[in-house]
């Protein structure tokens, strides 16, 4: 199938939205567009399986490569492997859910949905790009809508958070840019697949890998550049938080994997200890920081820092299993945290507070919302049957396969975080949905159909991965094998 469809659909949707009148039209158009997109992604998945079963073993499928800027050898080169398809599916489902939860967005609805769709377009483009320029292009496209979404529709100190987020992410992309320049002037190509065939000298890699990795790392909440995450998520409107945590933090992880590690494996190998150190700190530190939060959104934001630490850890460990785990964790965390934010948003829209201390006993009046809240929580503390367990265990297993003793220690520390996770999740859940309910909340209503639908989509994803991980595992395994071949090849060379 033609991958450009994945970019065109959101584009068309966005344009149509501009010509809509009133919330009703806008939201229905947005929903229609996103649903079609979801279907398209599912179709892509099917097509992918067809190809694979037909015995097509090329690393990238459905490639199409058109020259864009002849003079600079910039191509519009797109293609997907299992990893990108997983990401695309994640994005598609989160987008649908996000649009559903913001179903009653009265304020400037047209602009709101327009920006949402634009943001999603950036993500899709990013995930299918095989050309560093287009990759970077879409990466930055996905930044500015966040600024507006948070700044206009946000809550709390929204301007500050929006500005902080925008600037930090832009700083990230600035670093990425330097990395790209280095790669380009080494290989005179932006084409990821071509570059992966060439060999970049070790010194060059060592100089530019940090730029690329840290640059993308900022998107993926790499310690100590994670500080945009809490404020940004906390101030953002529900859908935006879902997109932020569910999609745009994944851009970072994907970039770290596809660009930094895939193209400069030796440097990745050389620096792995730093990466792992930072990741471990992020995991533990994020977990403890979460334990101290009192605002539900902050809780989830900090836990995102901790969970994304697993992604970085998996990448840093550089074993096939751990990288599998990293990808799994990206998908799982995307769905889970989106669900979490959706639940928080639903609670907030009814109780008008996110302070754990002020809530309580919601299970009585809003069983559905409380249930998804608990499900999200259980998923994030890694309960079997949900995606979180599969992802984290894969990361642990993979990390443990790395023979280095210190890395083992890091793995154990990372494992230890599951206890802390349990602590803060149970505190939040116990205080919020359980316990006696105060009278002011006794009259609140449960979720509406759109909220239920949104939650259902995400829950299905979570449970599907949790119950049948072999499916997604088979999906992403070829991609990670491909990456590992790079790593293995170059490391055995030395």
């Amino acid at each position: 199938m033609n991958l450009s469809l994945l970019i065109l659909l959101p584009l068309v949707t966005a344009v149509v939205i501009l010509f809509c009148k009133g919330l009703k039209q806008v939201r229905s158009v947005a929903l229609a567009g996103s649903v079609i997109q979801l279907l398209a992604s599912c179709f892509l998945l099917v097509a992918y399986w067809k190809e694979k079963n037909a015995g097509n073993h090329s690393p990238m499928l459905f490639e199409s490569d058109n020259v864009w800027f002849t003079a600079l050898n910039i191509h519009y080169h797109i293609g997907v492997d299992g990893i990108s398809i997983a990401m695309i599916l994640l994005t598609a489902s989160v987008v649908v859910a996000g649009i559903l939860v913001s179903w009653t967005m009265e304020k400037l609805s047209k602009e709101f949905f327009f920006l949402l769709v634009l943001l999603s377009m950036g993500a899709y483009g990013f995930f299918i790009s095989l050309d560093l320029f287009t990759l970077f292009f879409f990466l930055e496209i996905a930044v500015i809508p966040k600024f507006l979404l948070i700044g206009i529709w946000g809550s709390g100190k929204k301007e500050y958070s929006a500005m902080k987020l925008a600037l930090m992410l832009m700083a990230g992309s600035a670093l990425v840019f330097v990395g790209l320049m280095g790669i380009y002037y080494q290989t005179h190509s932006y084409d990821i697949m071509q570059i992966s065939q060439m060999h970049i000298p070790l010194e060059v890699q060592k100089f530019f890998f940090p730029f690329a990795f840290v640059g993308f790392g900022i998107f993926a909440a790499l310690f100590p550049f994670h500080t945009w995450v809490p404020d940004g998520h906390a101030s953002a409107p529900t859908a935006a938080s879902m997109f932020l945590a569910g999609i745009s933090m994944k851009l970072g992880g994907y970039g770290c994997l596809r660009v930094a590690t895939f193209l400069m494996p030796e440097a990745a190998h050389a620096y792995s200890w730093i990466i792992i150190l930072l990741a471990t700190i992020a995991i533990i530190y994020g977990a403890f920081a979460t334990m101290m939060q009192t605002d539900l959104k902050y809780i989830n934001a900090y836990s995102s820092v901790s969970h994304c630490g697993f992604v970085i850890l998996g990448i840093g460990m550089l074993t096939q299993t751990s990288i599998n785990g990293a990808v799994l964790q990206m998908v799982s965390h995307g769905l889970m945290t989106a669900l979490f934010f959706a639940a928080i948003g639903m609670i907030y829209s009814r109780t008008h507070t996110r302070m754990v201390a002020q809530l309580g006993g919601l299970l009585k009046v809003m069983p559905f919302i409380s249930t998804i809240f608990v499900i999200a929580g259980l998923c994030s503390l890694g309960l079997p049957g949900f995606s979180g367990f599969v992802a984290e265990m894969t990361v642990f297993m993979g990390s443990w396969q790395n023979p280095d003793g210190w890395y083992r220690l890091a793995t154990i520390l990372a494992c230890a975080s599951i206890v802390v996770t349990a602590v803060y999740i149970l505190r939040a859940a116990g205080k919020t949905v359980m316990g006696p309910i105060s009278n002011e909340y006794a009259v609140l209503t449960d979720a509406t159909w759109n909220e239920k639908l949104a939650a259902a989509i995400l829950v299905i994803g979570i449970v599907l991965i949790g119950v049948a991980p072999f499916l997604i595992n088979q999906l992403i395994a070829p991609g990670t094998e491909n990456i590992m071949q790079q790593v293995g090849k170059l490391i055995t060379q030395k």
Binding site: T227, A289, M292, L363, P384, M393, V419, M434
Partner: protein
């Protein structure tokens, strides 16, 4: 070898029920959900009995040894070519035995709950959770893969969390559920790391393969794990100890037992099922499951032994002082599990020395029946007087005769009076202890006496003591509540006579046990004395208990305060972890890390204020700067830069 794949249905039925009731229960099965759940479980119970019959009597044995059969297996998640999580079903004596126990007790509890939970708002949810638990427990006992065990391990943990917190608007219940989950989670961490270690050295997660590889002394796997060490302790010891910690957490062994008494906040039938008969023995089961590996490392077994023995004693002492009847039962559970643990600890893998193993399993088996009976009885009582406190009870024997009889039988059984079930299993345990380690034997003996004492203290103060002031408001309870009591009572009498050692042994081959009267004299007499003492103190209302308490003084006080374990834990969490780790981290994040980011911004702003004088608005100074620029460039590039 015949086909056992139908066993899959035993766990799947409860799962199906869970899904159905969980999703549609509220709407469609508001009142019928109990019946549905019970019937489904009846089905699984029947199936498991069939399976047991087939295995034990038809084709389980191959030339005198019970085989380990993998009934079913498929790869669920492949980590790497050889390490993968397989969903499998292992069939061997202990798994079949557990299968029977779990399904049967669970069935009883289902039936009992029909009456006990009648009229609850979240009736359907209750049954959904019960089914979930049953499913997870069954999955746990059938697991053929170490990681599979871990998964169901977590699942039983969470379902216990859900059931303890069933009365979610009761803060104490919420706190208890959280405590239970977090403490066990902490233990599970050990389990997880243990798995990682064993899996790494044995290169597999499949239990049978793992056992084969790690028990073959000269195999590379074994040598590697035995030689590799950390802090001077071999990796084997590390792995097993960590796994045992996991087990200890679930089985409420000291010092991870603190969650169990609080867990009594849950509905009483739940306590009967989870915290008496099934889940809490999961730790014992785990050790038994990996027993061949454990038996390779004496040091770990020693740890197991002493932890088990100490927990047994400690719990017994505490139990003597508690006034909440469910807590008394909880501590007695802990103490009995301690028995099972050290029985395993003193055991060896093969032949005669395998007595401890068999005894432990036997005690697990019998204990399941009488302990659940005790809890259900207590449930009936609580249902009747609406209180857990002894002081609100007394003289109930006339008002609830059936409960009374059943409870008495159970007490006799747990105290180990022949010919009740407890007697036989406890005999074997004492025997095993006696043969291996006298100290343990002494502790066990003393604990047995204590057990008898506090059980009958309980019994008397519930059913005798002062005359009841409860006018018979609403009978003893529905049939659905009485029936399980009766059935279980029969079991408590009967199961002791099963020639258990023919079926369940460490190495699968039958083991000839002989109960010799001479050996039994000591424990039985001690027990009877203890009972008499209890009768003397509690049969009628008097001030002897107070006197005794005064006599023991500090010990009594400490025991009644559970030896301040809770306070200790509270201190560690509230006074150390939160203020010394959590808060600093949060502070650092807000002020240092985030502060740095903001500092950059501030510096930039400051700079821009600093240099604003450049733009003085005076055209002459502009010209001056202009010329200065030229001069600078000239100097730079004509003189310096060469």
């Amino acid at each position: 070898m015949s086909n056992y794949s139908y066993i899959v249905w035993i766990p799947l039925l409860p799962l199906a029920i869970f899904l159905v009731l969980g999703i549609f229960g509220k709407k469609y099965f508001k009142n019928t959900s109990g019946i549905i759940g019970t019937l489904a479980l009846l089905a699984s119970t029947v199936i498991s009995f069939i399976a047991a019959h087939q295995y034990f009597f038809v084709d389980g044995k191959v030339n005198g040894v019970y085989q380990k059969i993998i009934a079913f297996k498929y790869t669920w998640l492949a980590f790497s070519p050889n390490v993968s999580i397989d969903m499998g079903i292992i069939i061997d004596p202990i798994s079949i035995m557990m299968l029977v126990v779990v399904t049967f007790v669970s069935l009883m509890v289902h039936v009992f709950s029909l009456g006990y939970m009648k009229g609850e708002v979240r009736f359907a949810t209750y049954y959904a959770f019960l089914s979930l638990f049953t499913f997870s427990m069954l999955g746990l006992v059938l697991s053929s893969n170490l990681f599979q065990v871990y998964m169901f391990w977590e699942l039983v943990g969470v379902s216990s969390f859900l059931l303890i917190g069933y009365y979610f608007d009761k803060p104490s219940a919420v706190a208890a559920s959280k405590k239970a989950f977090i403490v066990t989670r902490f233990a599970d961490l050990g389990f997880l790391i243990g798995i990682l270690i064993l899996a790494f050295y044995s290169g597999t997660l499949d239990i049978n393969t793992l056992i084969e590889r790690l028990t073959a002394v000269q195999s590379t796997h074994f040598t590697s794990i035995a030689t590799a060490g950390f802090l001077g302790v071999s990796m084997l010891t590390w792995g097993l100890t960590l796994i045992f910690i996991g087990g200890a957490g679930k089985s409420a062994m000291f010092p991870l037992h603190i969650w169990l008494p609080d867990a009594m906040e849950g509905p009483t039938p739940v306590s009967a099922l989870i915290h008496a008969a099934t889940m809490v023995v999961a730790g014992v089961y785990l050790v038994a499951r990996l027993f061949p590996v454990f038996s390779m490392d004496a040091s770990v077994l020693t740890i197991v032994t002493y932890v088990g023995a100490f927990s047994a004693l400690l719990a017994a002492v505490i139990a003597c002082t508690q006034t909440d009847i469910k807590r008394v039962l909880a501590y007695s559970t802990m103490s009995q599990i301690g028995y099972m643990m050290f029985a395993l600890g003193v055991s060896k893998q093969v032949g005669e020395n395998g007595l401890g193993f068999m005894a432990s399993m036997f005690h697990l088996f019998t204990h399941a029946f009488f302990k659940s009976l005790l809890f259900l009885g207590a449930g009936a009582v609580i249902h009747f007087v609406h209180s857990n406190e002894m002081k609100d009870m007394g003289g109930l024997r006339k008002l609830m005769p059936i409960t009374h009889i059943a409870f008495l039988i159970a007490c006799l059984a747990i105290a180990g009076i022949p010919p009740f079930a407890g007697f036989f299993s406890k005999e074997e345990i004492l025997m095993a202890a006696f043969h291996s380690n006298k100290i343990i034997y002494g502790v066990a003996l003393f604990t047995a006496a204590l057990t008898a004492f506090y059980m009958f203290r309980l019994y008397f103060s519930i059913f005798w003591s002062k005359e009841s002031h409860h006018h018979n408001s609403h009978g003893e309870g529905t049939v659905s509540m009485k029936l399980p009591l009766i059935i279980l009572a029969c079991c408590a009498v009967g199961v002791g006579f099963i020639p258990f050692s023919h079926f369940v042994t460490a190495d699968g081959s039958a083991l000839e046990t002989h109960t010799d009267m001479l050996f039994s004299i000591a424990p039985v007499t001690l027990t009877i004395l203890a009972i008499l003492l209890a009768a003397a103190m509690y049969k009628n209302e008097n001030d002897k208990p107070a006197k005794a308490a005064a006599a023991f003084g500090a010990l009594y006080k400490a025991a009644s305060r559970k030896f301040y374990m809770d306070e200790l834990y509270l201190f560690i969490t509230k006074k150390i972890i939160f203020p010394l780790i959590g808060r600093p981290v949060a502070w650092v994040d807000k002020n240092i890390v985030d502060g740095l980011m903001n500092l950059l911004a501030t510096i930039t702003a400051k700079m821009s204020v600093l240099i604003k004088g450049l733009q003085s608005g005076k055209v002459q100074s502009y010209a001056l700067y202009f010329f200065g620029g030229i001069a600078a460039l000239a100097v730079l590039f004509i003189y310096l830069w060469k």
